[in-house]
Amino acid sequence: MNRKKLQKLTDSLTKNCKHFSKFEVKCLINLFYNLVGEVTERQGVIIGLDRNAFRNILHGTFGMTDDMIMDRDCFEVFDLNGDSFISKEEMFHMLKNSLLKQPSEEDPDEGIKDLVEITLKKMDHDHDGKLSFADYEQAVREETLLLEAFGPCLPDPKSQKEFEAQVFKDPNEFNEV
């Protein structure tokens, strides 16, 4: 890949993406090409990572092991039966081990049911008794903590930090060290 093309790509990506600075975009492009390896570019062929390679990276870099999680969105992860809704039952299923069982309580599931109600109250914006993707998205936009509302499914923050530190390392700074 020639320098000119790289420059152009960096510029266009920086323009379209508000989250990353030019330097950071450059780092990400570098990373991408490092991962893909030296592939000669040909007309009409989109270069990229195949599923296996991506899975390996997720596993290696972010320490994620659950196969099911890896290729899906958080919402899809939580939508156990794949009907595009997270139902009360699914929630109950996912939350059932989230509370310490208190021997004093008559119905051990009481707390879980209540928790499901609380969650629905918070996230079910259209009040249909189940969570659509729209509900989910809105709730997460309001409170990012709810992204993994029903259990962990993303790289843990520690791995994220390490990744960022690795990728966005300032080459100048590195040289100084």
């Binding site: 609380i118 509302a149 923050p157």
Partner: protein, 942 residues
Amino acid sequence: MGVALTRSAQWSAAGHGAKTLEVTPLNEAIVKEIIMFVESFIYKYPQEANYVFVEPLEWKTNLDPSAFGSGYAVSGTTVKSEEVDKNGEPLLYLSVPQIKIRSFGQLSRMLYIAKNMKLKEAQACIEDYEFSNGCRAPPWRQIKGEICYVLVKPHDAETLCVTCSKEGVFLNGGKTDDEGQINYERKGEIYKDLVTLLKEKSAIFSENMSKQEIKFSEQPQKDQPNEAPKEEVAITHKTSITSRKSTQEKNRINLGRSQLTKRLEPSLNWRTSVSSKESRNTLRDTQGEKHGGKLEKSRSSLSPGRAQLIRKSVEKIEEIISDSSSESEEDEEQPDHRQEANADLPSEYWQIQKLVKYLKGGNQTATVIALCSMKDFNLAQETCQLAIRDVGGLEVLINLLETDEVKCKIGSLKILKEISHNPQIRRNIVDLGGLPVMVNILDSPHKSLKCLAAETIANVAKFRRARRVVRRHGGITKLVALLDCRKHSAEPAQSSLYETRDVEVARCGALALWSCSKSYANKEAIRKAGGIPLLARLLKTSHENMLIPVVGTLQECASEENYRAAIKAERIIENLVKNLNSENEQLQEHCAMAIYQCAEDEETRDLVRLHGGLKPLASLLNNTDNKERLAAATGAIWKCSISKENVTKFREYKAIETLVGLLTDQPEEVLVNVVGALGECCQEHENRVIIRRCGGIQPLVNLLVGINQALLVNVTKAVGACAMEPESMMIIDRLDGVRLLWSLLKNPHPDVKASAAWALCPCIQNAKDAGEMVRSFVGGLELVVNLLKSDNKEVLASVCAVITNIAKDQENLAVITDHGVVPLLSKLANTNNDKLRRHLAETISRCCMWGRNRVAFGEHKAVAPLVRYLKSNDTNVHRATAQALYQLSEDADNCITMHENGAVKLLLDMVGSPDEELQEAAAGCISNIRRLALAIEKARYS
């Protein structure tokens, strides 16, 4: 007997019902004396013993009817004496347990019958003494509705003699000197009950009444009554409860007010905080006690609370020393009003309780859901804030901060950040050890966590103890580190998400530092951690939300000399000036405040002008709605106008006229600064004319009657400066301003006294008939002379200056001589203070002009110390001293003293001084000494 009882008997404190005599040796002796008197009465004065009382003595007896023998008719539970009055009524009548006796004879017999129970009976008789209608006032006063009289000696006031009447309670004329009679005349208002009256008369009483647990025996109210009132005690009990509440309410209001005024910073440096501190202490006690009687839940917080109180008192000294003037305990002492046990709990309370249960017993997923749900409550509402605390939520939230779960920490901090706006919650968080945990989070690699922790610390560190905890756990260093966002870019549009987050971290750090910077030790810690250059760098941004905490921190810290130097060195003034032009009023206010603090320094004042800061400051005067900003702006103008070049600029901008317009209808915080600024401007003739022309003298003179000490110091200075213009002086005189200044010499505060005295000097100089004017103040001259007994150097110097001016009038000089001005001045002669030396020497030289004062100064040993003044480094002292010595050298003995003390050589040097007055005086003095020596020589040879 009555007198003995009145004066000496030791009554027990008010119990229920009647007062009782305490069992003390003194009381026993008194009662025994009474018994002896009564017992022997029948033998000693047999005639009088038969005299029948108008009203019977009546009490509850323990005597058994069977004890009565011959001379009495006993039937069952009643006894009648056979001795009767002329109507046939028995003189002793006992109907168990009530006994009525109507003559001394029967009293004697009764005591004889009582045998070993004499003491008890006598005591019961004395204690139960009251008229049958329950009143204790003499019958002729009962007609007027009076019930009884009480003497009350409060801790902080004179003994009060109080009449309790049917209409209410009032002060009477007190006990007259003879025989403990009472002057029944009403002297003052009628209060509804004794408590109200006492609260009005005694501050300590009212303070104590506001305490939660009043033990009656501990009250400052010590009755030494003729008789003690049954009714009153009952009333006191009843009202104490309501009055206690209202006092607390009042205190709260006061606190609220002091918080309000707190933000008006510029003048606070002089505010005496004694009174507010006192009221705080009261409240603190109240809280301490309140903890005790709380719901079970809150009891756990009792012991740490107490421990803190103790710790606090130990560390107090350190903090008092180390805290700067801007320190305030704004919220620490707010009353802790927890939910009453029986009050109706709002529904939120139960919902929050349930969520806290899930927080405790859930895994990360459940915890996050519970946290998010809790966040949806209105956390700005006190009900929710206190509910979270009262169900033990604070403990759980703080515990979550110690876990490794980032999400839980974030969720917990998001809640803590909101509820810590509540002063009580802040205290609770500190009590539960929340601050060290948050300080640790500042090290976290997660920027959002850092931000939340810093923001929460910013809220919590609003009181001194919290600020200290932050510092002791290394929080200041960590917060300063947050300010360091390396890739900080000036243009927000181009920065990436990461960089934006860095800026946000720095902003939160600044926010927390702002709160922390109110303690002196923290200011030092910030400086040592290298905070100033970082703050200076952040000051270059254009984000208002960043600038406000940064400037806020700088403004707090600028109270310290170290900072002011650093602020100058880091070129911060430039940016402060730039931000004066901001649209944001709060930012303008803090910039002006910072300039106000820094402009003590001359170079800084010049910098403000050079960077064009005077014009925006002057234009800030035009908006008078925002009083905080107005106070800051006028403060900055005041300090800047200490430099003449700045005053010239302000005159150009017509700021002087605007300032005169601000002399009325402004809060004291603003007035202090406005008058201070005018006082500086007045040092120039041109400005004095402006002030007179736009009618500034009248409002200035009007302010002379205030009580704000800082304001009075500035007003007297300004009025004094105005008096330098004869034309202005006429106005001041017409407005009776000189009399007002003169009466300020009686102000308790030395700064005010001195400032008033300095102001009087130009007044006397420029008044038309000054001598007559001064004489017209009755007792004025004596007052001034007596101020020479002050131990404040500034007061002494200023009073000397006043006396110098007064003494220009021969008649007045004669009067002050009679008041003993010479010995008083002579006493002051041994001083090293050059200012005092100068003015003292001037006064002495002026006072020499009357009678034999020259000789008198010599006799009072003022001459030798004056000679030593010539060794001072101050030419002003030299000139004044040489002149004084010249005057004194007219007396031969003084010449000898001067000669002995080596004056000649010193004076010879001064003859060569470029100062002509000094030359002349020195030469004159030498000539007098020389002439005396020649005369002596001549006498010897002739």
